[in-house]
Symmetry: C2
Subunit: 348 residues, 2 copies
Amino acid sequence: MSAGPLPTIREVAQLAGVSVATVSKTLNRTGKVSEGLRERVTVAAQKLGYAPHASARSLRSGATRILGLLVADLANPYFLKLVENIERLSSAAGYSVILCNSAEDPEREERHLGMLLSQRADGAIVIPTRRSWNGRMAALSGLPVPGVLVDRRIEGLDLDSVTTDNLMLGRLAAEHLDGLGHRRVAVIMGSPEHQIARHRLDGFRAGFAARGVTLEERLIQKDNFSEEAGHAAALRLLSFSERPTAIFATNNHLALGLLRAIGEQGISVPEDLSVIAVDELPWAGLVRPGMTVVTQPSEAIAEMAVSTLLERISGGRSSLKNGRDTVSVQLQPALVVRGSTAAIRSRR
Amino acid sequence: MSAGPLPTIREVAQLAGVSVATVSKTLNRTGKVSEGLRERVTVAAQKLGYAPHASARSLRSGATRILGLLVADLANPYFLKLVENIERLSSAAGYSVILCNSAEDPEREERHLGMLLSQRADGAIVIPTRRSWNGRMAALSGLPVPGVLVDRRIEGLDLDSVTTDNLMLGRLAAEHLDGLGHRRVAVIMGSPEHQIARHRLDGFRAGFAARGVTLEERLIQKDNFSEEAGHAAALRLLSFSERPTAIFATNNHLALGLLRAIGEQGISVPEDLSVIAVDELPWAGLVRPGMTVVTQPSEAIAEMAVSTLLERISGGRSSLKNGRDTVSVQLQPALVVRGSTAAIRSRR
DNA sequence: CTGTTAGCGCCTTCAA
DNA sequence: TTGAAGGCGCTAACAG
């Protein structure tokens, strides 16, 4: 709203009666400046409402203090949490965040990547789209800025990554259900091509195997990650004559479909059926009974992603230039017990 | 990961055997270039993986093609929807979005505003923090870039704004409940200092008044917008000997607290009590029975906000320079009927 | 149609 | 301790 162009460093210098170099040194606290001049410069800058022109500074310095944040699906509440935390941490570290949502569309992802390149973002945090796994990784591996993959890894891609330990996640769910005495347990797992879903299933299977229990294959429902698929899978499971006593839904969309099916069928949770899901769903505490879930450590993941990225950035322009190998961190999930799971003997 | 610095326009020119001006004209489709050269330039740029340096371009052209998006609270699902839509539309229009979350903290808001100024964002879309209403608008009114206020207006601030018609929102809720025969209705309204809450209440009151019904003041619960407050207010309302037959929660946090209280008290919805809330809560269709809500037109609001802002931007550097008065658009909410409201006679 | 050139605002030598 | 000057990559005005 204020009129005209913004003041430049030159105008500040003029008003303070010094050279632009002195202004620069003063405002950036680089180099020695006498007390008197420092004062005059500060006042002048204040009076003019001077704000350094980031583009000019970047052009000169080679760094933009911008991070790209490329998210596979903003509507996913788990990713949203990551976004919140990443924005907060980046901002606190003095970086601006350019937000890009690829909405699980590899084309949008690629366009956004090109844009981030043009903007010369100092680094990028990427939750890649699912479909980019099949060879579409070129754009990512060619990323000329330090990049960190979050939540989803891409095998064979030489990038730092921070993910949940999904094997452990499955195992935690298994141990909980096993401890409650469940033996006939089902899994709604989404797409078996998805590494995360596979890991969660493998961990779940391993957890039961460690206690000598083998999962029935017919109780493992594979399809895709939509709520619709979860709903359909749940209906199938519930129609079996020997119904499972517990169901593990490996993803929040699937859990939603599962709950819908349960509601429609008039099944009582946890009396007739125990249910365990993944992620701290925003409504996990709201539905009656509260959902028992295995949560991913979103805050720790965000922290690790940002710190890893910032280290790379300060380590050198190119991601791998400083000789450090790529790091691939897996953080531990946790069990949150609420009302949707119960000991099996309470059942009949 | 690729080594070394990125190619500049000069290198493209060299490889194509032309001048930098020709490269610039070709790539920007500005000015005439012969077919042969166009081809050579395109190929050279492609081969080098050239991406124009946004900072350099901005410095020269005065425009950054960056929009600031300053959100009062990312965790609010309604704001998230706005963010999603705004990102999508901006990106489609060729703008990058710098996301800032002020988390209802005016200090963070102000810092972010300063950062956007330094970045020389071409414009900003702002959902202001609540507390900034009391005089803290200086930073906003001094915004040296075109800005659009979204969802929350600030009286006396000369900025474009796009909001929901909250009077109409309250009225829609009232008409729906009235049509179902409810007369003893309650409102959990949040803070009366908040303009939005006041408007919703006023509209609600007016809607009933138009049918000759006057709201009982003791049934209008005012406090703040937290889930806790909603919970407490709900408990108070439900403890009255003459219980309300319907409750209107003016905000999604309040609705959450209300639902929790209802669950604890073992009250049946909609048999014992009709409930109507605001916004398309992500779980609105999930809880049994589905929540009847008055929704804000988030997509239309995002569209209007972006288009208004882009018009301002193309209209001139300073927001009001092109002589156009500030526009203040109010978009219409809509009623979505689900299972949480029912005719009163079904009650006993 | 194509090339040459002057800055956009800033930081950083280098000289005083 | 302070000032003068060059140049980051690009676009636009001007010259050929």
